[in-house]
């Protein structure tokens, strides 16, 4: 039978605030266990949560970016369950009235077409702590630093019809929240977590099949692998005449399989009710206005602007805007003197190659965009050849200063004095009579030999265009 895949995603983005959603505790990553957990986070009797203003602003800016219905009122609710990483016995979340309502996000498909994915809602909630299960003699260790960290949970409609679409949507959400500056997007540290709901149905059938929820998809690669495994598992079940059980399954990257988590039948009875400790949140025009003003240029707009302002191909523009940081880097290279098309190549090939080789991120690049711009300016004005530019780049990478300083110190300045080039060429022609004869007899390929000799003599500094022109003139004459 032909099966159709149906996928919906829940994305938890950790909001990039300084303090927690309901308390003034720091959310900095990597602190000693429980040093960032105050009595509000710990749920001591008598404490009152107070909502962080930045969290509201960030949710609003996201809502605007996906053209969502917003406000005017949203309500926090208690989601009740017992687990030691949540000492209050409930998580403060939103249920009936989330801060961000229906919106949508357009993804690019492989065939170049686009598809709008519906977003059901995005709501604010507090994160839970971490349980450590190893090495405590039958006990679990609890670190509550993460408790109360602000999350925006973005829930999609079951609109995705393939694993590729699901990965593409997840990447687009990731790109968007990083562009908006509301999430650092660090998946290793858990700042961006994806849960996926997957079901299958025979092609043409309208009713959805029974879905399973996959957790622990902490990279796009794992997400794709987990969905692939789960898709095959469901097809095998149904084609073997068995049924899919609605349950939560955990992805195990080491074994590349999904496993059923303990039945959460009871745990799913969350008994939501409005949190009496928190008043309804009212969104006023002033806040919306502020969010509109703080809205940065979004990836799709940036891509269009790059195409028109810098005359870039759509493929180049798309590659550059993959990350906001890279796009910003590119623009600084151009504004510091680099030609746009050369800048694309240097940023996405030379620099990216060097970064990958060193295993570091663009933010840690030892070469600044201003330095790259300065280098490109020296290529454009013929001070150095493109070939020597790589040598200059390497020196800049090693901290030997910017392009002009390196060119000066290493004596890499291109020779553009035709008289000087001519003298060198005359000498080479005189020293290689046999090759000259062969060239004149029609062995054109030997031009390369002569160019090579000139470059050897000048340590690659002779202007290649001039060398070619003068050589040809002399050899043919």
């Amino acid at each position: 039978m032909q099966w159709e895949t149906v996928i919906g995603l829940e994305v938890h983005t950790q909001l990039a605030t300084k303090s927690k959603i309901f308390s003034g505790t720091s959310i900095a990553y990597g602190a000693d266990p429980n040093t960032q957990a105050c009595i509000i986070d710990l749920g001591f009797p008598g404490v009152l949560p107070v909502l962080n203003e930045a969290v509201v602003d960030m949710a609003l800016i996201f809502g605007l970016a996906i053209n969502a219905e917003i406000g005017p009122r949203s309500v926090f609710a208690r989601k009740n369950y017992f687990y030691p990483d949540l000492p209050k016995g409930y998580q403060i979340s939103q249920f009936e009235l989330p801060i961000v309502g229906k919106g949508s996000l357009t993804i690019d498909l492989e065939d170049g077409s686009q598809k709008a994915i519906g977003i059901t809602r995005a709501h604010l909630e507090e994160d839970a702590g971490k349980s450590l299960h190893e090495d405590f003699h039958g006990m679990s260790g609890i670190d509550l630093n993460r408790t109360g960290t602000p999350l925006l949970e973005i829930v999609s409609e079951p609109d995705m019809r393939s694993i590729k679409e699901a990965v593409s949507y997840a990447r687009k959400i990731h790109q968007l929240v990083v562009y908006l500056g509301i999430c650092d997007g660090n998946m290793q540290e858990g700042s961006f977590r994806v849960d996926a709901n997957l079901s299958i149905r025979p092609f043409g059938q309208e009713a959805f099949g029974t879905r399973t929820e996959l957790k622990n998809l902490n990279s796009f690669r794992f997400m794709e692998r987990a969905l692939n495994f789960e898709l095959e598992r469901q097809i095998d079940l149904l084609e073997g005449g068995r049924k899919v059980v609605q349950e939560t399954r955990l992805y195990d990257p080491d074994r590349d399989e999904t496993r059923s988590m303990r039945s959460k039948e009871e745990a799913n009875d969350y008994r939501y009710f409005p949190d009496p400790d928190l008043l309804p949140v009212e969104i006023n025009d002033q806040q919306l206005q502020r969010a509109r003003q703080n809205m940065p240029e979004l990836p799709d707009q940036k891509r269009q602007r790059f195409e028109s302002d810098y005359s870039l191909s759509s493929a180049d523009a798309l590659m550059l805007i993959q990350s906001r940081h890279q796009a910003d880097f590119f623009e600084t290279v151009v504004s510091s003197g680099g030609d746009a098309k050369m800048a694309v190549n240097w940023v996405t090939v030379e620099l990216t190659g060097a970064l990958n080789k060193a295993g570091i991120a663009l933010s840690q690049s030892p070469v600044t965009p201003e330095q790259v711009g300065g280098l490109l300016e020296r290529i454009a004005d013929n001070t150095i050849s493109g070939k020597l530019a790589k040598q200059v780049f390497e020196a800049m990478w090693n901290g030997e200063g910017d392009a002009d300083k390196v060119i000066e110190a290493k004596g890499l300045k291109q020779i553009t004095d035709s008289g000087q080039i001519e003298t060198i060429i005359d000498e080479i022609i005189a020293n290689n009579p046999k090759q000259v004869e062969q060239f004149r007899a029609g062995k054109d390929k030997l031009l390369g030999f002569f160019v090579g000799q000139v470059m050897k003599q000048t340590q690659g500094k002779a202007n290649p265009g001039q060398v070619n022109k003068i050589l040809l003139g002399k050899l043919k004459g």
Binding site: K18, N34, V55, F82, H133, F136, S140, G141, P274, L279
Partner: protein, 95 residues
């Protein structure tokens, strides 16, 4: 609406309350009476009334995003039954 024996046991379990078997029926009766009271409210005409999520007619005040809390781990952990390397220890929970 009334609650039976098994409803009460389930609710007690969700709330992690230890309930003596002999208490269950009494609770079932009490809780059912409370639900009965709520049912009476359903007779009220509420069509034009916006649902209320809080009895106060006020909006939530917001806090500036600043770190104001200090590390109070030692004080907080002084009342914990068991602590190792800064972690609270609890009976093993694993999915």
């Amino acid at each position: 609406m009334s609650l039976d024996h098994s409803d009460v046991k389930k609710i007690a379990h969700l709330a992690r309350m230890a309930l003596d078997e002999s208490q269950v029926d009494a609770y079932a009766e009490d809780l059912s009476k409370i639900l009965g009271l709520v049912e009476q409210l359903e007779a009220a005409e509420t069509h034009a009334i916006e649902p209320m999520s809080h009895p106060l007619h006020m909006a939530q005040r917001l806090r500036v995003d600043e770190v104001t809390e200090k590390d109070c781990r030692d004080e907080n952990q002084a009342i914990a039954p068991s602590v190792v390397n800064g972690l609270y220890l609890v009976p093993k929970v694993i999915e």
